[in-house]
């Protein structure tokens, strides 16, 4: 049976997993053992999981993270979140059409809820939480780490690219998913640490206890200190047709592709040129998905230039100063229209372009998951935050400030623990620094016969190239981490800098054999688009402009290079230093099309759970309503399963557009529980062993 599964991946191993039969609306289908229902459905090409009771709109995946309920299905008669529920042999899965039916239950277990004490509770086993845990474990402090996923590592698990940051502090040059495994292994070896996987923190109560659903069993934890390392959530965007199925966040996409090895789309369009959107585009290419384009509202991508350059060079157009105007489709997205915008973000008429696509990723920024910290503070508990839960930055920064937070917590509990060196705080600042301005190529006019050309023209916190050079000839101007690298000294042509650069922004030009036709060595990570000796490659400059077609002379695939291939070609001397990479995605993929648009859904939705439109909310704001609780009471916006995690920002934007200042808005009241849980769990049902 043909399934939408990733069968080869340049970075991720494809495990051989047992097939499991299950039923979708009575039809037998195959899943892989140990995968969640939503991924099994996507693998079988099913993207619509049901229809909303309010307006019969198609429902499918949205957060892929257990936070909303858009992916609800009926599994063995019970309504469940398909993104969090493992598929089982012969499971009877049905779509939810309107309201689900609650099955009859004859008897249910009733037990007391266990209350456990720990010195520290870390919420979130991602880069920050695990780094903090290592510090606590090394100081032998009794710590519980809870994480809602089956595998520790948080979003590191989903990162197939090599990391930025510094080699000595944050594993720069190593791939994110490998870093996740290394951290998890360190944590496993420390005796004072207890790890609960598949465990969701629900709320921090006034009586200083934290409700945790551990493997489906409800427990209460009484910690002395809470460390919130719960990460970030993605912001959503308002545009016409934004609630169609097939529109979701980059995080959900990475989960499907890089964790579950499912290919959820054939043609992808991306909104947002921050690192999240850019990396998602790269991950899509690695998964063999066509990336039609990426729009960014600002004149320049906010993410690292090297990430943007990588996409452009491979053939993905990036439309800066553009916005998404509308998504079209019957139930799921079929095409998207973008337009140019001026510096005030206003549409420039007659600049529309429409592209066909089956999935649209929204990557327009992140916000900290700070509700646990806020509730803990309200309850009068000691609480620290780390990683994105504290401040949105790269994972390399999260690991380092997690380490600091871990030691801070340790010092709260044990006064004998050494002071935190002030240099740590300085380094933490450096690791979270925003990209600097773009400059010209540095030092590429020199007399060497062989040398690296550094296509890294924007200051970012990253230093593996200088760390790895055996002759210390890749140097960094200014700050040893954020400064720009340049070549000065002796190059032996080893190519290590080419292979390690996370931005794939170093090439090697070698004139030793032929001065007229030097050999250029290019880094390449997309083995799924196979490049072999004698292939013709369409070489491009840093921005993706075509410089000519040249024949591949050699493909180096050394285990030392950690799945980065080195592609060599002989090219004319006048362009050798300009070549940064080569196109792999044909131009046809990203060509706009003019065809009949099936149905125009011109509702701008602000609350996806309760299907509340911008129009409804705007009407109330115009009537003078400034209390978000009143908007909720009248429209139900924010009353759905996700608990206003998506609509909160969008409603605040509407206030801004209507000229209401932030201080006049009354915020929504936060209430327990932050994730929906069956009532029976609170009665002590279930078994966590």
């Amino acid at each position: 049976m043909s399934q939408n599964r990733i069968k080869e991946h340049p970075i991720l191993p494809i495990p051989d997993r047992e097939n499991v039969r299950f039923f979708w609306n009575k039809k037998p289908l195959l899943a892989k053992k140990g995968e969640v229902i939503s991924s099994a459905l996507f693998a079988n090409g099913i993207k619509i999981f049901g229809h909303h009771p309010k307006d019969n709109s198609a429902q499918g995946i949205f957060c892929a993270n257990g936070q909303c309920a858009k992916c609800t299905v009926i599994a063995n008669a019970k309504p469940v979140k398909s993104c969090m529920t493992l598929v089982k042999e012969n499971m009877d899965v049905k779509s939810v059409e309107g309201l689900p039916k609650l099955p009859n239950t004859e008897k249910h277990e009733i037990n007391d809820i266990e209350i456990l004490e720990f010195d520290v509770l870390i919420i979130g086993g991602g880069p920050a939480g695990l780094s903090a845990a290592v510090q606590l474990g090394e100081h032998n402090i009794r710590t519980l780490i809870v994480d809602d996923k089956n595998e520790l590592g948080g979003k590191l698990v989903l990162q197939t690219h090599k990391f930025f940051g510094s080699v000595e502090d944050s594993y720069a040059g190593t791939r994110g998913n490998d870093i996740g495994k290394m951290l998890a292994e360190k944590v496993r070896k420390l005796n004072s640490l207890t790890v609960w996987r598949n465990s969701i923190a629900l709320y921090v109560y006034k009586d200083k206890k934290v409700g945790i659903l551990k493997n489906d069993v409800y427990k209460l934890i009484k910690p002395k200190i809470i460390l919130n390392a719960a990460g970030a959530r993605e912001k959503f965007l308002r545009f016409k047709g934004n609630a169609l199925a097939g529109i979701y966040g980059a995080g959900a996409f990475q989960t499907l592709v890089n964790r579950d090895l499912v290919r959820p789309t054939k043609r992808l369009f991306i909104v947002g040129g921050g690192n999240v959107g850019l990396i998602a585009g790269y991950h899509a290419l690695q998964a063999g998905i066509e990336v039609v384009g990426l729009v960014e509202a600002l004149p320049k991508c906010g993410g690292y230039k090297v990430h943007a350059d990588k996409l452009k060079r491979l053939g993905v157009p990036i439309y800066t100063s553009h916005t998404i105007k509308q998504a079209h489709g019957e139930e799921t997205i079929e095409s998207v229209t973008i337009c140019k915008i001026d510096k005030n973000f206003q549409e420039i008429p007659n600049t529309d372009k429409t592209f066909s696509c089956d999935t649209l990723l929204i990557a327009v920024g992140l916000e900290p998951v700070n509700e646990f910290a806020l509730e803990a503070e309200k309850a009068g508990m000691k609480v620290f935050s780390a990683g994105d839960a504290k401040e949105i930055a790269e994972a390399s920064s999260a690991m380092f400030n997690g380490k600091i937070a871990g030691l801070q917590v340790a010092r709260e509990l044990r006064k004998d623990i050494e002071d935190i060196p002030s240099s740590w705080y300085e380094k933490a600042e450096i690791l979270k620094s925003e990209p600097g301005k773009t400059v010209d190529y540095q030092n590429i006019e020199n007399n060497s016969k062989v040398f690296p050309v550094i296509h890294c023209l924007q200051e970012i916190p990253c230093n593996p190239c200088s760390t790895i050079c055996p002759t210390n000839s890749v140097k960094i101007k200014g700050d040893p981490i954020t400064g720009l690298p340049y070549f000065e000294g002796k190059c032996i042509g080893c190519g290590k800098c080419v292979a390690i650069c996370p931005g794939l922004a170093i090439t090697l030009v070698d004139y030793r054999k032929n001065e007229e036709f030097p050999t250029v060595t290019l880094p390449y990570e997309l083995k799924n688009h196979k490049i072999e000796k004698k292939d013709q490659i369409e070489c491009v400059d840093i921005d993706g402009n075509i410089l000519g077609e040249y024949k591949v002379k050699r493909v180096i695939d050394s285990p030392a290079n950690n799945r980065t291939q080195l592609i060599q070609a002989e090219v004319p001397a006048n362009i050798a230093k300009k070549i940064a990479s080569f196109h792999i995605q044909p131009d046809e993929v990203s060509r706009p099309e003019i065809k009949n648009i099936t149905k125009i859904d011109d509702e701008e939705m602000v609350c996806l759970c309760e299907r509340v439109t911008a129009k409804e909310v705007r009407k109330l704001i115009k009537k003078g309503v400034h209390d978000m609780n009143q908007i909720k009471a009248i429209t139900r916006a924010g009353m759905g399963p996700c608990g206003a995690k998506t609509c909160d920002n969008l409603i605040k934007q509407l206030f801004r557009e209507e000229g209401i200042s932030q201080e006049k808005i009354v915020e929504n009241t936060r209430r327990p529980v932050f994730v929906e849980v069956p009532l029976g769990k609170f009665a002590g049902g279930g078994d966590d062993e």
Binding site: P79, K107, A379, N629, Q630, A633, V673, L679, K681, A683
Partner: protein, 383 residues
Amino acid sequence: MNNYDVIIIGAGSVGVPLALSLSEKKINTLVIDELSSPGQSNNKKAIGGIRATHSDFGKIKVSQRSIEIFSTWQERFGDDIGWLANGYSFPAYCERDEKNLKDLMKLQHQFGLNINWVSPEEYNELVPGINMRGLRGSTFSPEDGSASPLLAINAFYFQSKKFGAEYHFNEKVIAIEQENDRITKVVTEKENYSAGFVVNAAGNQAREIAKMIGLEIPVNPDSHEGAITEPVQRFFGPMVVDMRPSKDSANYYFYQNNEGQVVFCITPAPPIIGKDNDATSIFLPQVAKRMIDLYPRLANLKVRRTWRGQYPMTPDGFPIVGKSQEISNLINAVGMCGQGFMLGPGLGELIAKIILNELDDDDLKALQSFDPYRDFSGMEQFK
């Protein structure tokens, strides 16, 4: 100074419907509330049950009128306020409860209420899957029902504004001045006001407001926690009130609202006095154990949100409504004991009649139940 016919302190369960009744009769009305929009204190904490099947004439009469207002609202004004005539039921699992309920039913029948005794089998049809072990039957009052407190108060609010009522939100009353036996000035952080009548409808804050006039009223809020689940297809009919006390709680109740969500609430025992609104870890396990034991089917229903609010309690469980004897232009409408939402619309009309001097004999009789000068030694049954 801004002058009004009536100033209502508190835009909650009683204040807003009262403003509606007054403004409909062209009475120049101002409602003052320290919060930002209507119903933001305890009205929105109500689970939404509305019943006329009480045990005294006053509450029965007022609630019957409330039910008329709730149930006809949509046809009169067009807004859906979530009214559902789903009925109330009090199942009995012991002889004493059965007897008490049946005795009360005799009284309720005298008041013309539609309430019947159903057998365990009949009850299992109304609430399919209910625990039948030891079940002796249940009361069932099909004309009782429920509505959305959130939608209802906003509907009343916008309609009263159409009739001309004014609301000043984010304004806290800080002083009330009086001369002889009259209130002459209501002072807020922002303005001074005068009015023909001042109504204390301040819910949780009723006692503090009364103190500003030098009066003592016996209203003490105690805390309850409630919750709401995800919506599912309708699977049971009436509000279920389990009266049996447990080791740490008194009664609890739940129903399925017009959206298909199950809403529930429990009464802690002993009561938790105070106005704290922060959730405790005790509530969910406490109520879940009892609900799952009574109705195992609820086990797979996901809890979406919980909250904590207060019942502004009086010593005998009856509201305090009526003219002050000490202050001639003060009316008390306080101490709703957790029933403000269901009593509100009926009380609003009744208090408007006090102000307009339009009370008839039945109204006067109803008001006896709520007499501010009663001795408070009695006790409300089946709260």
